[in-house]
Symmetry: C2
Subunit: 398 residues, 2 copies
DNA sequence: TACCATCACGTAAGCGCTTACTAGTAAGCG
DNA sequence: CGCTTACTAGTAAGCGCTTACGTGATGGTA
């Protein structure tokens, strides 16, 4: 076995290539060598590149001596496989794309918007965790309001599947994407095409919350802060409030419409505080962020929560438990949403997943104090359930 | 010019390849066609693949008629370039890797840890935003405590540069990485190798905070909740507290050591609340998360903040402004940190950046109410600066 | 009218890797 | 002792794209 001929076509400065990356290999005294390839490894170990590849990928049909020789060369040269080349050859990138929407580019507004991003951050984290478990990486791309979905399109050629979060693209775009790539949509209406939809059970959580307010606290008149008309979640929650309230014998005495942001909650809170009419005794906000805004204004205006007005939210974002009073809300399992999205993508890949399927995750009533319940004791970072009052599942049960 | 011969080497089921991805092209009735390549475009438009490539990349030397023909074919076929192939050929992936550390995998503990992740989330967001501006995507990888840095290593072969957040890898690993890839380290000590370090000015912010407590509120005795010994930030903040306190004529009357988590803050808060000795009148927590824990315990135990004990933090995480009382802290520009990291990476690429350089971002004192200042009025989502008392920059000034 | 830029496009090599196919060799068997 | 079988390892094609070179056609100039 003559030591394999190596160094093919002597890199005649032809097209493509050069050292790894377009990036200059030597900038201002920086020392960075050309990244070794399997050709270098092969030369070093005295084998062919096929053998190197087999050794690297732990394929069978190799003597352990040869394998050891190759792995030694890997150490000596500090070899790292070129994922791009691997992906091209192997036919899979081992990457999952995550497309999220960014509401604002405005830096001044950024800190305000942070609050609304907490939810997406959690989804991303869950997805990353799930992807990591199978050795995949997450390619993150955000889409600005007017920027179009070109960025999402480009992801098709760079990933093995796509997770679209929360209306980051239009319906047409979704269809286009799902026609040619495995796609999972989060918080989307029922699938029309190949995409798998993962969302939460808005109606169950909303129902539990309404029933808690009516049956435990005896409220018969509800105020509601609705979400934007464009939101599927907002619509579903509102529908359920109407239906459940009627069934439970309660009346809706006032509605306000926000856009899911904390500042819209503040606007509404101010309107209520400064209004002359009778205030509702309870204000159901259709998400936590608006509740945060309302709570802030009420604190400022000296309106006691929950004694004068009870306030509730929806989502259970991280900050809700740290508010004063801690916010009673419905937990939406954001991390699990992300994790489920990724595993559904894998299912789609292995043929186990059913295109066009819909997966609904359970929500959970989280009773804290803003509804009028009293925490009997504290547990780390959160309130214990009020003493015996409620039948519904409480916070931290998991 | 005879219409170019197309469809080379008739795909004889050879190695590699097949339709895009390892993923089956047809799962349970799902319709997904083989992704069109430039060969398909070339055939459709009646030109060669070189011409297609030139049209796609807006190169010159093409008649506008030909270009239009190619672009029409793109629309008709729904073509998306294969980023992997492009990356391999072009020599750049147009992707930036972001390596972050995950503290826990434990799902039950997850909600507790969320708080500590807020900071990293913000950094990621900033980086993504910055990358997006130049058409780059972010490849996100997290590293678990014991998982080793293999994942980071693999990123070298899949990205054009790496951002390492907050000690996600060891020093040796950092050196190894920086030797063969453009690397920016966040919250790292001074660079020893090629890496560029971006961090915040811990000492300036800490100094302002100490001086505020001493000169504005007249505190002469400070309690300090220190961070973990392993943290560079914690050490620097602590050093500055000691130095500045001495210079300002104040004494440190007690120190406790936490690990930067909210739960360690609760532990310490409990120890202080239940302890028999005299309580410090002010407690400087070296990050916000520990302050959150302290505040929670104090609320539970009926200790008035700031009247009995003033509490301060460091970081200005999102929730700090919504705590009761709103937390006085030092703002660390997390998003800017991420954005700066990415732009430094680009600088490194274009030769403008200096390897081994250190970039320090300014911090800002954020006076709210937990220090004893009183908000005169509220502004959206935050408190206005206390009336005339302070010289330091206040929150929301931007 | 011969010649030479210029333009528009085609040809083909090569990016680094995986893998089907092939070949050589040692062991097993009648 | 010739022949099959099982390993091990090499050869080369091909993944989809970019781009250095070539090559006709065109038009301008001497």
């Amino acid at each position: 076995m003559g030591p394999a001929e190596v160094r093919r076509h002597a890199r005649a400065g032809g097209p493509g290539g050069g050292p790894r990356g377009r990036w200059p290999s030597r900038v201002r005294g920086e020392r960075r060598v050309r990244a070794p390839t399997i050709y270098d490894l092969a030369e070093r170990a005295g084998v062919s590149i096929a053998t190197v590849s087999r050794a690297l990928n732990a394929k069978s049909g190799l003597s352990s001596a040869t394998r050891a020789r190759v792995l030694a060369a890997v150490e000596e040269l500090g070899y790292v496989p070129n994922g791009t080349a691997r992906g091209l050859s192997y036919g899979a990138t081992e990457t999952i794309g995550m497309v999220v929407a960014t509401r604002t580019t405005n830096v001044a507004q950024a800190s305000e918007e942070h609050v609304s991003l907490l939810y997406v951050d959690a989804v991303i984290r869950g997805a990353e965790r799930s992807a990591q478990r199978t050795g995949y990486a997450l390619l993150l791309v955000s889409i600005r309001p007017r920027s179009g979905w070109e960025a999402a399109k480009r992801m098709v050629g760079r990933t093995d599947g796509l997770v679209i979060v929360d209306r980051a693209v239009s319906e047409d775009a979704m269809t286009w994407l799902a026609e040619r790539h495995p796609v999972v949509a989060l918080a989307w209406e029922s699938p029309k095409g190949n995409e798998i939809v993962v969302r939460i059970d808005n109606s169950d959580g909303t129902r539990l919350l309404v029933e808690h307010l009516v049956h435990v606290h005896g409220h018969r008149e509800l105020g509601v802060v609705r979400g934007p008309a464009s939101s599927f979640d907002a619509a579903e929650r509102w529908r359920t409030v109407e239906r459940t309230a009627a069934a439970a014998g309660a009346r809706i005495v006032g509605t306000w419409t926000g856009d899911f942001s904390a500042s819209s909650g503040e606007r509404i809170g101010r309107a209520i505080a400064e209004g002359t009419g009778p205030r509702p005794r309870v204000l159901m906000c259709m998400n936590d962020q608006m509740a945060v805004g309302v709570l802030n204004v009420f604190a400022q205006q000296g309106i006691a929560v929950p004694d004068e007005v009870a306030v509730t939210g929806f989502d259970d974002i991280v900050i809700s438990r740290y508010l004063r009073p801690p916010l009673t809300t419905v937990r939406q399992p954001a991390e699990e949403l992300g994790a489920t999205a990724v595993s559904s993508l894998f299912d789609l890949a292995t043929g186990k997943g059913i295109p066009g399927r819909e997966i609904v995750l359970a929500t959970e009533l989280v009773v804290r104090e803003s509804c009028g319940c009293r925490a009997a004791a504290w547990r780390p970072a959160d309130a214990a359930p009020p003493d015996g009052l409620l039948a519904a599942t409480s916070d931290g049960a998991a």
